[in-house]
Amino acid sequence: MKKVGIGGFGLTKFNKDNVSIESLMLSSIKSLFDSTSRLDQKDIDVVLTSTNDNSKYLATIMSELAGISPKISHSVESLCNSGANSVISAFSYVASGLADVALVVGADKFDNPGLVLEWDRSRGQYKHPVYWSSMFTRSHMRKYGTTMEDLAMVSAKNHRNALENPHAYFDKEYSVEEIMQSKNITDDVRILDCSFPCNGSAAILLASEDSVKKYTDCPVWLTGVGQKTISAGFTKNEDLTSMKSTRYAADMAYKMSNKEPKDIDVTEVHDAFSICEIIELEDLGFAEKGKGSQLVNTMYGTQNKKINPRGGLLGSGHPLGATGIAQIVEITQQLQNKAGKRQVEGAKTGLVQNMSAAATSSSVLIFES
């Protein structure tokens, strides 16, 4: 298997402007080309689009709009986890030798149809994600004594981190008290404990070891890949205090990269709701079960940006198809020591966790400088 590195990236500002999915994607592709000086359209073998938009033939359309005639082009859709899924697909093409340079672009609009999984009959009339989030929250509170204040601290930390992210949807700091007093969506979830759907796009270039050095002097290597699907239906989650698919995916990624949780310097986790970050920190091995909120409290209290330095989904917004790629862009910048005021000092190894539909599926990726 060939070694695969990241050769460049592009991002758009997350917002709610009225633009087409093609315009969103083209903006981040342009951003990638603008910042990757030696990249030529002729170099690109693969174009993958990550989105929940209902557009047809989108990867091929984007190839034409960007002047690329790739060998392989197709879309990847896997709800919120589309971004990491598409990067794993691109990694596979390059690592296998089937392709040498792959462009992955993800985007979604704030009103994209991927927010609610209508197929899931087990959710009855409670199909909106806030209902599964409430179930996870109540279970974690019941088992481990997690409080509304613990949840609010996740959101306060990530909104504060997002202040230094020029592409984030939010540019406002909230206190723990303000978050706790924000609108009740259910008894267990406040509106500021929820990530917001928005427009956004992110693009990334993956290339083989031989080619990636043409595009960057400091490539970041994708050394660990883990992915697991448990089910599509939410209620197949046996334990509502844990994310089984994330545990499996993390185990795979740690083994492949020969790393352990203690080796990870910086991480982007999928905080679709505040409770998600707490559970994920436990399931990724950064905290013991039931101690995820203590870790968040420490990070918040010491202004440590190790967890979700770009502001996570809570602070940055959540354009589904772009989210996983934007997470990877952040870890790339961190490992290149180019994250500006968000920089985690001396970061050499980073982890991305991206998941879908109440963690019925998850991806975990490990990167090294």
């Binding site: 087990s122 959710r123 009339q125 199909k127 409430s134 179930m135 109540r138 279970s139 008894d187 239906g233």
Partner: protein
């Protein structure tokens, strides 16, 4: 519209059951998800178990489980009773109008 949805409209909760395995196939499907055998449709009756619950405005919603296998989300009518995890529930109403609707009551 599927058999499952049609029967919900009639107020009945039916589930597919494998001819060969004699086990429920959930979510309802045309074939068994273990052996790909043909399925029958069987109406479910009996006690459900409360797995978790929360509340939006004045409405309690929950996850309920049947036969250690079928789990669904629905409204939970509590009345003046105290609720705790593991309690027996009755499925008192099923319907389908654009989406599935399930209503449970504490036993």
């Amino acid at each position: 519209m599927s058999i499952f949805e049609n029967e919900l409209k009639n107020g009945k909760f039916v589930c597919s059951e494998c001819h060969e395995c004699k086990k429920f196939v959930w979510p309802p499907s045309d074939f068994c998800n273990i052996c790909f055998g043909k399925v029958n449709w069987r109406q479910i009756s009996g006690k459900w178990k409360l797995i978790e619950f929360s509340k939006k405005d004045d409405v309690v919603f929950c996850i309920a489980e049947f036969d250690n296998m079928i789990r669904i989300m629905g409204e939970l009518k509590i009345g003046t009773k105290t609720t705790s995890i593991g309690q027996d529930l009755d499925l008192v109403k099923c319907d389908y109008v654009d989406k599935e609707k399930f209503v449970f009551k504490l036993n």
